[in-house]
Symmetry: D2
Subunit: 279 residues, 4 copies
């Protein structure tokens, strides 16, 4: 199989962008596998994802495209490969276990380089899969100190993305800024409903008939970052908040895995506080 590349372009829309980009790729005789574009009708911003096979002078391609495109265009060329992930977790095994099995059995285009947890409970699960496990207790540390300790460990693995698999601590602004658009979180509610702590308890108390989960990039505003994926399941009056939490685990792990899959396959643009996803 030939090496695949993903060209990701976004810029202010103007006439002829698709023509310019596709003509440039055509002239280089690469084999275009798929081509998706979108112009936001409200902001007038243009997004394009082109997957192609075959070799070209990649740094030259980027330079030429930069020249063809409007000022301030973002052009990025990703080579299709397994992305490196570090997972942060606390004590719940369902999301983490699901990611471990998926990565180990090629159901996700990624490898888990390490798992970092603020509690010890998940160590044995992680070790089954021969993945390094780091316990970084938050006890007797302030929030920033704790996060920076984690940050140092993360840096030692040089991951492409950080996945919060039910990591139950709020990350400080410094940490979030450092890994801008690189941290994917799963929140156990259908955001923006039930922001913050105990969303199933909130859902139970409100008496909703549907519960959900939301995977999003982490920003400085709690549970307010760009949403990547959401899904829901039915609930009813027989479900206590504990039963909702149990039923919700399935949605959480599937939503998180779908979000990570889209991100590691270079299908997700972040645009302001939203995502544009070519799936």
């Amino acid at each position: 199989m030939k090496q695949q590349h993903i060209l990701l372009t976004d810029c202010q829309d103007s006439k002829g962008l698709v023509s310019s980009i596709s003509t440039e790729l055509y002239n280089r005789e690469v084999n275009i596998l798929s081509n998706r574009e979108f112009v936001d009708p409200v902001t007038g911003h243009f997004f394009m994802r082109t997957a192609f096979e075959g070799s070209t002078d990649n740094s030259n391609l980027l330079a030429v495209l930069k020249n063809l495109l409007p000022e301030n265009a973002n052009v990025r060329l990703a080579t299709k490969r397994k992305k490196r992930i570090v997972v942060l977790a606390t004590k719940e095994p369902h999301c983490l276990g699901d990611l471990l099995i998926r990565t180990q059995y090629n159901d996700l285009n990624a490898t888990i380089e390490a798992v970092i947890a603020n509690r010890a409970a998940l160590g044995p699960l992680v070790e089954k899969f021969k993945v390094p496990f780091h316990l970084v207790s938050h006890q007797n540390k302030d929030r920033v100190e704790h996060a920076m300790e984690i940050s140092d460990i993360i840096d030692s693995y040089a991951p492409d993305y950080i996945v919060l698999a039910k990591y139950m601590r709020i990350l400080p602004q410094e940490f979030v800024n450092k890994f801008n658009n690189k941290i994917i979180n799963i929140h156990h509610s259908f955001l923006p409903a039930f922001i913050g702590a105990s969303p199933y308890k909130q859902a139970y108390e409100r008496g909703v008939k549907i519960i959900g989960a939301t995977a999003h990039f982490v920003t400085g505003d709690l549970d307010m970052g760009p949403i990547i994926e959401q899904d829901v399941i039915s609930t009813n009056h027989r479900m206590t908040s504990k039963l909702m939490a149990k039923a919700g685990m399935d949605v959480e792990k599937i939503v998180l895995a779908r979000a990570v899959s889209k991100v590691v396959d270079d299908r997700v643009f972040v645009s302001g506080n939203k995502t544009v996803i070519f799936d």
Copy 2:
């Protein structure tokens, strides 16, 4: 066909309630069609819905049951019949049109006695179905005055329920109190997300991947009453708030119709700010 009755009981749970109620009905030799019960494990409240066929002395049944059951038990015996509905609307035809067709073609166990609107636009639609249409403009009236004018018209039809089919005005406390647990509203979001005005605009701005609709009883707190029914559909980055609103109309009308159907079939208990539904 024999007349069907629905016995609705709720009270503080205690041992032997199912035994007492079912034995009493057994002794009266009525034919039990279905029997559903639920004890809320958090509040310890007992709910039971029994549908039966056959004649008994209904007022005596209620008296005997009251005597068997704990103090403050609610016991209600509903005879299966078409419920009388008054619909309030503003200018959108999709929910109203759907209800008109359903009631006229026996897909809902109800009749629409009248439609009251604060704008004229829906008059021609309502008149096609030979249903009285009342235009009660809100212009140059204060909120309470306007609502009381509507209330008087409603009273003249003595409805069982009032259905807000995209009625876009907030009803004052006096009105809501008068028709306690009798007013069913459709809100065009997946509550409690996007309370209040322009939920599709809010959804668009938040960049959610799923939108929904919620049917609920109206209380004094805006969009906070007991939820009867919710459903959702997928959305994506290509949908503007206008396209979301268009796609959402289908969910709104289906969710509202399902909620009304459950209420008019005497399947819904209101319990605090929640519903217990035997569907």
Copy 3:
């Protein structure tokens, strides 16, 4: 607002198609609103839908594109306008009523020119909406004779599409051939499960936990034409086939309306026995 056009191209894939088409449109200085393409990785067939605004010499555009594209390319230029529909029905009002309200209130980019039914029951509903209603009884006629009588009436309205809104008769091959890829049917099951008569009875007997509806183009093979849209709802042991049929009506009408909407918006390619849909 400027006139919108939809350019629909499909042909055997070859390098440079997107470049050729988009460059040609760029040179004509039209304003491209959206551009979607797809290359089937199995068949190697290329599909492209381009919506643009602004005037160009349309017949010249088609000629030039034909010249640029591989032999046997299909190129079609549709002008955005309300499509003309003739509806065939039998006796169930839910799909027909839904289409009548949608078309009358601009929720579907189409007009219903006439309704033809083999029974009289729906006449009063249709007449409410001032749409011509033709009763063409099938009694004492053979299948072909009956269909050709309907065909003549259809011809008199010169519709773009024929929508079968729970029309419960099988159409003969001659009829289907005449209106190739122009007839949209709603089947009340999740095809290919429960082909043919009484799908809800079949679903009940099989004990499925989900039921559905399927909108598809009609071909000579019963319920086997290209699928446009499907959706499902949950069912359970409490639902008889009659209750399934009642619950299923909502899915049927929504699925049919969505399918018609996509077709009349020129979003649907038929490719062999499948559809490629840019929604």
Copy 4:
């Protein structure tokens, strides 16, 4: 916590069944936690599931109830406990891995006593979880011989249920008869669509817009046993059968886990070729 018991009754319906059963339990002063019943309106068969806490003379209870109930009534008293499961698999890890994590982390009221596979691939996964793994190759054996070899191993674990977690061999009638209503299979389609081999290939070729998975009890008729659980996800023209298979894995594992959960919680009655489920 007191021991919980589940009383499962089914018999021909007659008047007074709920009264008899609930009065008998009331007199024994046990604490009823939940009570669900259903009378099939078509077959006139009665089903009841009662969960209660507290001690009674269980064998006496069964004898007394047998006496109270119509002839041929089935009465079963299950004590709430972890059920013993043997899993059969072939080479796909997603369902098996999901069950291993769930059982090990108490998300399923069961233990996996052993995994038996006809290929070696899953051995390392199973061994991570310290569960016995038996490779029973089917090569050079006839179907019955192979199945009986598996059957002997199963017997040595005396399981409550056998779960086929993508076990890709058809089991012979002798095997199925021996474990009547004890074998739960996951089929990777929305049955009864796409029975038999390669359902995703069939789905791809039919061009469906939704794919699904079905968990069912295994009977002698391939993919025709009583359905326990089904769910679906959307698909589209971009998905090859391989991509459908990948996307389908998530539905398969969730549907299988939900089905197993309901069975091991004694919520499922088998009635003819259907299930009655109190969830």
